[in-house]
């Protein structure tokens, strides 16, 4: 290996299954800290699955390949050997497409625990949390930056939140946890145009040279303020093509017909995955939507 000066998140040959059905069929991806990558692809192509696998969702079984954090000096850390909380402490973050509600738990209390653990990866349970005063002032500042009302922090985590509020809560967590690598899974879905613009600006504000970001999206707007260094297209459980920002624009305008035609194997894989999954939108409808 050549000498590295940049920390990287490296996914190699990743295969993963859920309920015995293989979803990822050999994914390769490399993201450096400070880089923005976009991941696009039709519904059911495996984008969210990739996010879950990187974060360590217990329902997804990784059957082959690796996910590693590569330090600036070249040291490799095997994420697959870590529990989700260890991955978070190692600097990985996943903004959920559909975050879970935790009734009775205030967003601020939850975040104080999370921030404490992520910033002191060796903290043992029961040890002191981050001082309340410091936490509060930081939270308040971040909420002001993101134009979020402070009342928000007193609400129960995602409980009764609108779609937009949930996404804003995810962005707030991203801002507070300051991960090395963030995967944003359709942080724009369910939002109106103004809300997407706001989310896009917020992400641009939080990111920067310290954060590598993988933006999973169907749309272009989220990328408006977050121009991707690379755009990747996923089809049938593989990344079949990568390009610059112009690729995102093309897919947004023209859909995935060219991609499907160019990669018939992946398209066939997609079709068979769709067939065994009744919940997904039918392929034809998708093409129309794209």
């Amino acid at each position: 290996m050549t000498a590295q000066s940049q920390e990287k998140l490296v996914v190699t040959g990743l295969r993963a299954a859920v309920d015995g059905q293989e979803i990822l069929k050999g994914v390769n991806l490399e993201i450096g800290r400070g880089e923005i990558h976009a991941l696009m692809g039709p519904n059911g192509s495996g984008k969210s699955t990739l996010g879950y696998c990187i974060m360590g969702h217990p329902s997804y079984e990784v059957t082959a390949g690796s996910i590693e954090l590569v330090a600036a000096d070249g040291t490799r850390h095997d994420l697959l050997a870590m529990e989700p909380d260890q991955r978070a402490r190692a600097g990985i973050f996943l903004a959920f497409q559909r975050p879970m509600s935790i009734p009775g738990v205030r967003l601020a209390d939850f975040l104080r625990h999370a921030v404490t653990n992520v910033r002191n990866p060796d903290r043992k349970e029961g040890q002191e949390l981050m001082p309340m005063r410091d936490f509060r002032s930081e939270l308040k500042a971040k909420m002001a930056d993101l134009s979020i009302d402070t009342e928000f922090a007193r609400r129960y985590v995602n409980d009764g939140f609108s779609g937009g509020e949930m996404k804003r809560a995810e962005i707030l967590q991203l801002a507070m946890l300051r991960p090395k690598f963030a995967i944003l899974d359709e942080t724009d879905s369910g939002l109106d145009a103004d809300a997407v613009r706001l989310a896009s600006q917020s992400i641009a504000q939080i990111g920067g040279a310290e954060m590598g970001i993988l933006i999973i999206t169907h749309h272009e707007q989220l990328l408006e303020h977050n121009i991707p260094l690379r755009t990747h297209v996923m089809l049938g459980g593989r990344i079949v093509e990568s390009g610059g920002p112009e690729l995102a624009a093309e897919l947004h305008k023209k859909g995935y017909e060219r991609i499907r035609a160019a990669y018939p194997d992946a398209a066939a894989a997609e079709e068979s995955m769709q067939e065994s999954n009744d919940n997904k939108v039918p392929l034809k409808t998708q093409a129309v939507l794209a």
Binding site: P103, G104, F110, H113, V115
Partner: protein, 484 residues
């Protein structure tokens, strides 16, 4: 046939708890309640129960004849009643228990007057500190007797009485006799009869007309000796327009043999009065906690029970509110946490005996590591109690496949024009919730604890801050080692 509340007189309540307003101290210190102090008793009745023991207790207390007779009659009732055939398994050898243990010659008015070994116990439980910070008065009971008592001077001047029940028998006999054993008769249930026969200690409170006590009065019940039965007897009289919040906590160290805690708590809330009674019991897991608690609420009066059950081997406790006159309100919030080897059979009773009365029961139970939490509740509407309204919500959270939750709701309505609602839910901690929290850096144990804390949050937020903090600490203690 339903077991349980079919008789008009059932009732049992537990009153154990921990109260403790403790501050400081990290969660790491494992069960801080499980310690014993070496404090020799000044008198200990022999093991077992018979008329001689009952007479001896009465004699030690130099009681009037009426009380001695009340005790002896209650003993007969106890002996004649069968064990309850519902609820939990009660494997108690009544002859193997010490029924009376006098820890000290006299009650202290200051902590300095309390024997060192006993004082040390309460220091460790944080009681004197809590007293200084936010309480209007404190009673501390060690084994059978109240060893320390205090009441804020301004309250005493306004005519508030806060004493132990033994003292009340001597000093306020007329007031006491008007209600003692009238709200919960010795014939009510076997354990009420037992308590009536051998009772000792407990609190007697009188709040005069219009007096509103701002800070809580607190009693702390501690069993220290092995095979000790604790049978405190509490009577609270809230006069017209008066207001009080009474808090009790209960703990004991862990011994190899079972102990029994069987209290009776009687409360009267007169016209437009208000009483809140908060219990946080954290008995050791070998204590049978079989308690009867009942309040009568009169015109426009409000009675609230907040009942937290974390410890004990078996708790059977169903705090009751009898709404006797129009406009009375009863509210019961119940939290039960059952872990390995524990059965919490907890619940509530609301009896609408007059028109325009309203009640609410909210029950939250958690079971883990093979524990069993049952909700058992009764809502009864008497004929003529028109326009009565009651709602019951019970939610159960089961943390693993070995644990169990049951719901036994009894509803008896003998009036048409009423509104009664009942909702129940059972849930498990979801993998998705755990993943969401752990993906943010929380360990699985922290995440579970957080979900459980959130589950009971609607009730915990009703507690004064100090107790809410304590409750959350206790939940964290209970959750330790529950994962992995």
């Amino acid at each position: 046939m339903a077991t349980g509340f079919q008789s008009s007189s059932l009732a049992s309540n537990t009153a154990t708890s921990t109260l403790a307003a403790t501050t400081g101290g990290s969660i790491g210190e494992i069960n801080k309640y499980d310690f014993r102090t070496d404090s020799p008793a000044v008198f200990k009745a022999r093991r077992g129960l018979d008329a001689t023991i009952v007479e001896q207790i009465s004699e030690m207390k130099q009681e009037p004849a009426w009380m001695r007779d009340f005790r002896l009659k209650s003993l007969e009732i106890f002996n004649s009643k069968p064990m309850p055939h519902w609820g939990g398994d009660i494997a108690i050898d009544f002859q193997d228990i010490f029924y009376y243990l006098k820890p000290t010659e006299q009650q202290g008015k200051t902590w300095e007057e309390v024997p060192d070994a006993i004082k040390k116990t309460f220091d460790r439980l944080g009681i004197p500190e809590a007293e200084r910070k936010f309480l209007s008065g404190v009673k501390a009971q060690f084994e059978s007797e109240v060893v320390y008592g205090s009441l804020a001077e301004d309250l005493a001047k306004q005519g508030v009485i806060f004493t132990d029940t033994d003292t009340a028998v001597r000093e306020h006999p007329d007031l006491l006799r008007e209600y003692f054993g009238r709200i919960i008769s010795p014939t009510d249930n076997k354990f009420a009869a037992l308590n009536s026969a051998v009772w000792s200690g407990g609190s007697f409170i009188y709040v005069p007309k219009g007096v509103k006590i701002e800070f809580p009065l607190q009693a702390y019940f501690r069993i220290n000796a092995e095979s000790m039965g604790q049978f405190e007897r509490t009577l609270i009289i809230v006069d017209e327009g008066a207001q009080v919040h009474y808090v009790e906590g209960c703990t004991a160290p862990m011994y190899s043999t079972e102990s029994l805690h069987s209290a009776v708590v009687e409360i009267v809330v007169k016209k437009h009065g208000r009483c809140r009674y908060t219990t946080i019991q954290n008995w050791a897991n070998n204590i049978y906690n079989l308690v009867t608690k009942r309040a009568m609420a009169y015109e426009g009066a409000t009675m609230e029970w907040i009942d937290g059950n974390l410890g004990s081997r078996l708790t059977m406790k169903y705090p009751a509110v009898y709404m006797m006159e129009p406009g009375a309100r009863g509210e019961i919030l119940s939290i039960a946490f059952a872990s390995a080897g524990q059965h919490q059979d907890a619940g509530a009773k609301l009896v609408h005996a007059a028109p325009n009365t309203s009640g609410r029961i909210v029950s939250k139970s958690i079971s883990k590591n093979g524990g069993r939490a049952s909700y058992r509740g009764l809502v009864r509407v008497e004929p003529g109690a028109k326009k009565s309204r009651s709602s019951v919500v019970c939610d159960a959270l089961i943390l693993d496949d070995r644990s169990r939750s049951d719901t036994y709701p009894y509803i008896e309505i003998e009036e048409q024009d009423v509104s009664i609602g009942h909702e129940a839910s059972v849930s498990k901690i979801g993998e998705e919730q755990l993943f969401y929290l752990t993906s943010r850096g929380l360990s699985e144990a922290e995440a579970s604890t957080m979900i459980v804390s959130g589950f009971i949050e609607p009730l915990v937020k009703e507690l004064p801050m100090e107790y809410a903090v304590e409750m959350n600490r206790l939940i964290e203690l209970q959750m330790e080692g529950s994962v992995g």
